[in-house]
């Protein structure tokens, strides 16, 4: 069977984009098989079909996998896999009435966003102050000794921290976009 691999990065607040991507792929004849490793998506050739993909983020669900998956399969959703805390589900659009989703009210959509924030964003934000500590030690060492290696290292870490800050700004923008769309 013909298969295909793609590399796509979806950040923590881009699960809608990811769902749309998987749906479009299926619609163009590429059925999602799995995602693994560093954002590698595996597909296999199939008859084009409109299939709705949905992502949930629920640690409690992953901890009680059997009961969790059962609620979804009872409602006609096929469970695919977990990846980075997200659980993947799909259902053929022909079985659904309109654009069916795994959430039916704004309250639960918002709660899902909050679970993503708690599980993924908080650790990312907390890492930033921790990065500053070795940075300051290095900075003071560099000022005092003026050692060449310390200076190089300092420039490198400055770059890294800037990149990290940029990433956070990007995430903040995506969060706002998602919030606007959801609520």
């Amino acid at each position: 069977m013909e298969t295909k691999r793609t590399f796509r990065i979806f950040t923590i607040f881009q699960y809608k984009e990811e769902q749309d991507y998987l749906r479009e792929m299926h619609l163009s004849g590429w059925k999602f098989v799995k995602v693994s490793g560093p954002c590698i998506y595996y597909f296999e050739k199939c008859v084009p079909e409109d299939v709705i993909y949905q992502l949930d983020y629920n640690k409690d669900g992953i901890a009680h996998k059997e009961e969790y998956v059962k609620v979804f399969s009872d409602c006609g959703w096929e469970y695919l896999q977990d990846y980075a805390g997200y659980s993947y589900f799909r259902k053929s659009a022909s079985e659904t009435e309109g654009a069916e989703e795994i959430f039916c009210d704004d309250d639960s959509r918002q709660q899902m966003m909050m679970r993503v924030c708690k599980g993924r964003l908080v650790p990312v934000v907390l890492t930033l102050p921790i990065m500053w500590i070795p940075y300051f030690i290095l900075f003071i060492y560099c000022l005092r000794t003026g050692a060449e290696w310390a200076r190089c290292f300092l420039i490198l870490s400055t770059g890294l921290i800037c990149l990290y800050a940029l990433l956070l700004i990007m995430l903040a923008c995506q969060y706002r976009k998602l919030k606007k769309r959801e609520l």
Partner: protein
């Protein structure tokens, strides 16, 4: 009843209301989905993500309790606290309805 519960559940979502209402008798997630569909003539179809999240949250808040498991389905029933919250919400809806009737 503590203020947190009151703040979170009064007023509550339609989903939460139907879940509590259905759990006067022991039932599982999918059973609730079917019961609500029957009750509302197919108008309200609860989705599994919403259902799972609500049940987990309500169990944590002591509004419902886990009774037993049947064929990988968790069966829950409403608690005294859950009944109290449901009554409170019902009073609110009654008042809403009464005022609407008088206003029309």
């Amino acid at each position: 009843m503590n203020q947190h519960i009151k703040k979170v559940y009064v007023p509550m979502t339609e989903t939460a209301f139907y879940i509590l209402l259905c759990l006067k008798q022991p039932n599982h997630g999918y059973g609730i989905v079917q019961a609500v569909e029957r009750m509302t003539g197919g108008e309200i179809r609860l989705a599994p993500g919403t259902m799972y999240g609500s049940l987990a949250k309500m169990e944590k808040d002591d509004l419902i309790r886990f009774i037993r498991e049947e064929d990988k389905r968790k069966i829950y029933q409403i608690t005294d606290l859950g009944t109290e919250v449901l009554q409170m919400e019902l009073k609110r809806i009654e008042r809403l309805y009464r005022n609407a009737q008088e206003g029309l």
